[in-house]
Symmetry: C3
Subunit: 395 residues, 3 copies
């Protein structure tokens, strides 16, 4: 039996500003684990009005942001923080984000999450998306700001579900709609089990418009210290890897390892086509310098066939961080992604589901097991490492 | 004697978040009619912080949005919903509307009202408004986004008035002002009588700036099912009617009837110069396919001399709707409307009042009486139906 | 001993929506002075969600806006209002300000404060700021909207401090940050003493980014009636004064006196390089027509070496006001100010402090003393009054 609690529902007038759901109140326990789900509204600064839903499974604590498209602000797993330090210190209410600012990169004014969705209609670099007909004529043009709308849209419905087997889920529904602009609905399910060091995201994006609609989704999973550090390493089994641009070419030989926080460092991105295991899942791992801790992201290759690695080992105050970014496409302007067949098209009522999970290891054995899994998978596949940007992947 | 209740007044620090005014509390009754006025704040999604004032006269229920320029979200008349279904499902707080988005049509991100005002300084298509001097030189330029600011400005004062004769009024005051940008004040009065199937809007726009100011106002009155449907008809007595563009020309012979929800349908607009009755009032009617229900809009020809018919029989999920839009001008770029003498100019302190009323019939007799009124009025006037766009009306 | 009260702190979850601190509750008194500090949230209109912190020292009342970058909305000193009447009547929540509107002057939609900070990264006219390398090539470009971001950013921490010597301080911290956009932190301290007619602002701006960062700050101090009026006068000791443009040249001979509210008046600005006294402080004074009242602004020449006088004797309904604007630079596009060496550059972690104070006189003797101080200072320095715009000061 699953117990369900509605935390927020605009249509039904439900808003449990200070809700608290826990083992005592629900009667679902796993040993002594002190699990709970709480909601709190932030006040002041650019965080005014941001709801934070805190899910604690007794081992893993997750701070979810219904106000920012169900993004995950930060986490703590077995006492280890899973986060990074953006110059933007606190969750930013979308009212303070003007996505059109700075030539369309205003999204960065609110960017500080551990997991931030980029999508739904598009993600990637800002620019004017021109749609051409078969003869090459421009049919329509639209300026697309960086990384799309979803991180700055708020969920109109949030539910918490507790199952008797100890699964705790947070379901959030966010609409990305406009008159004469289509209607995509994200139904996001975040699940973790009592006492677990893993959490899963299963996102369904449905086209509720009458016409077919395009979807792009990218999970901007951003991690800093203590996982990132000088000598930390990135692990992925891939068929192909290519530097995004000349800047990425510069350090191609060390593309899987990280520098310490480095003054004057300019970001580097590597585009990858990961290899999936027998279950169709890919695995990307960030391992700390001592090989004693790691973060692994597993993702479903059928809908997230690409992963972008974002290396941003800038000084800590500017955001010392790396992003492992499974995506339905690369974060280029949508026009380019469309030309290369990486934009999802959904018929009316059709949907696509994106699955990924995040797991954390906090000792050497578990960490080795995780990176060995990558190594073994790669051993069965050739890796083609391009020494220059891939013409089909980079603009 | 009229009883007055202040629901919201920023200057006086009054905000009755959960007010409830009714027959019992006020002591004004008409038989058994259970009338009431209530306010409620929405929480969650893009509706966070939107106040909804619900006025129920015992027969007609109106949901008014002080947060969105006193627009009327939706209504129910004698049990029949007066509404449409926009892809944008709920009232959107202006903080989530970036009017500059998509080349200046971001207004559509929040568009779902039954009656949405477009104005005050301008309405219509986005574009750069150039003001020329007598020699044709450009004096100033300003980018005007779609349909103006008023629907995304919030009322700073809302009062409810109950008169002994059973009139219930909601008065809302909204300023559209900017330093070096003028100051127009909308004082909006929505009135209905206990038990009535009619409601009236009387809007006064005053120029509180020192210099003369331009005003454009358009009432975007949008109706879907059950009034709209295949075979529904539009009725208006007009001197002249013209298709807006080539797309409208295509179906000129059926311009007064409607299709069922139609895949691939592109909107069609018809510009009309309505005929006024002896009292100076015009009447536009939407009749359902069975001729058993209708919505009539009466409007004062002296300040609302034009009506735009918006046909948008798209599939239901994209917004199956028609708009009857009485306006001080047509919804073209203001530059064009100014050139053709349709922009109102107010001297300092001068004001203009826009009056309209909406009535609903729910049986065949009442419906026939309403459409007969149009027919009889037209019988006394020639109708000139242009077969091509009118050079003075369409850009 | 100093007593400290946290009114708002996002990180600690503190938000004292209805706080009230006064002589009784704190036990710090100066005779009978009824001092107090209160916070209140505004509801409705464009003011929805704006916090107003009211500081009353028993003689001077200040309304501070944590939601608008710690600006000072208005004041009353010894019963005399220190304010102006903008067409925008009430404090505007930043959610209702689209700074990109009207070609980048959307800032004016929220402009009505007595003291509004312009900064931190830039202020002045909107435009595209191009940064050039030594060879004149454009290194980067960014569109800068009018007067910067700070007035539309909210404080994430607000404290009140009461010292035993009767000083009441309000400390507010506001971050102006973005990923890939630097991080400037304003720590603003507003201090006044029980019973005083003076208040002081001490603002520290620190560069929390890793790279060096540019800072521009301007205090837009705006005053209307009863200080401003026909025959009111402006007093400053200056080394140089220049009209900003041809419009300012027109009335150069009367640049220090004011007209009555004048229909058709277009703003005039005068750029000045003030003379500092032995303590490094400059003094600017606005004296009322009867010479019985004055407002004096003292400012630290070391970090605020320039003062812009903004004369805007428009009709009252358009904003009859003058601005005395001490700044780290002139309010030109940052590109121009950089070329002329007036933009502050801070190394990482470095900070700059801006000090100014406002004093009000309300009788003839005190008023004469204040203007005499200016006269005596000028007597010791030559004034160069340019009859045309200064090539280094005006674009």
């Amino acid at each position: 039996m699953t117990r369900s609690f509605t935390v927020l529902n605009v249509d039904e007038g439900i808003y449990e500003a200070e809700c608290s759901i826990d083992a005592q109140s629900v009667g679902v326990a796993r040993g002594d684990a002190e699990w709970s789900v709480r909601m709190q509204r932030l006040h002041g600064g650019l965080s005014e009005g941001v709801d934070v839903l805190s899910l604690d499974n007794g081992c893993t604590r997750l701070a979810v942001l219904p106000t920012r498209g169900m993004g995950i602000w930060k986490a703590t797993v077995a006492g280890t923080p899973l986060e990074w330090k953006s110059p933007v210190e606190r969750p930013v209410h979308p009212a303070f984000v003007d996505q059109g600012r700075r030539g369309g990169i205003g999204w960065l004014d609110g960017f500080n999450e551990l997991i931030c969705r980029c999508g739904l209609g598009w993600h990637g670099a800002p620019g004017t998306d021109a749609i051409h007909d078969a003869d090459g004529n421009v049919v329509s043009e639209q300026f697309l700001s960086l990384h799309g709308r979803i991180a700055n849209l708020a969920a109109h419905e949030v539910r918490v579900e507790i199952s008797e087997d100890g699964a705790i889920s947070v379901i959030g529904i966010v609409d990305e709609a406009s008159m004469f602009g289509g209607k995509l609905r994200l139904t996001s399910t975040l699940t973790t089990h009592i006492g677990s060091t893993t959490f899963e995201i299963s996102d369904t994006v449905q086209n509720l418009g009458a016409a077919s609609a395009e979807v792009e989704m990218l999970y901007h999973c951003n991690i800093g210290k203590p996982f990132l550090g000088e000598g930390a390493s990135f692990h992925i089994a891939a068929e192909e890897v290519a530097p995004r641009d000349a800047r990425a070419v510069e350090d191609l030989d060390t593309w899987t390892t990280y520098r310490k926080p480095t003054s004057g460092y300019t970001e580097q991105c590597y585009f990858t086509k990961p290899v999936a295991d027998a279950d169709g899942r890919c695995l990307a791992v960030l391992r700390n310098p001592a090989a004693s801790k790691a973060v692994g992201i597993r993702f479903d290759a059928s809908t997230l066939p690409w992963l972008t690695l974002w290396k941003n080992t800038q000084p800590e105050s500017d955001g010392y961080v790396t992003g492992m970014e499974p995506g339905s496409s690369f974060p280029n302007l949508k026009t380019f992604e469309r030309q290369h067949g990486r934009v999802v098209s959904l018929e009316s009522q059709q949907s696509v589901t994106f699955d990924l999970s995040v797991t954390v290891t906090t000792d050497k054995n578990d960490t080795a097991r995780l990176t060995d899994e990558v190594t073994e998978l790669q051993a069965r596949h050739d890796l083609k490492l391009h020494t220059a940007p891939h013409a089909d992947w980079s603009q």
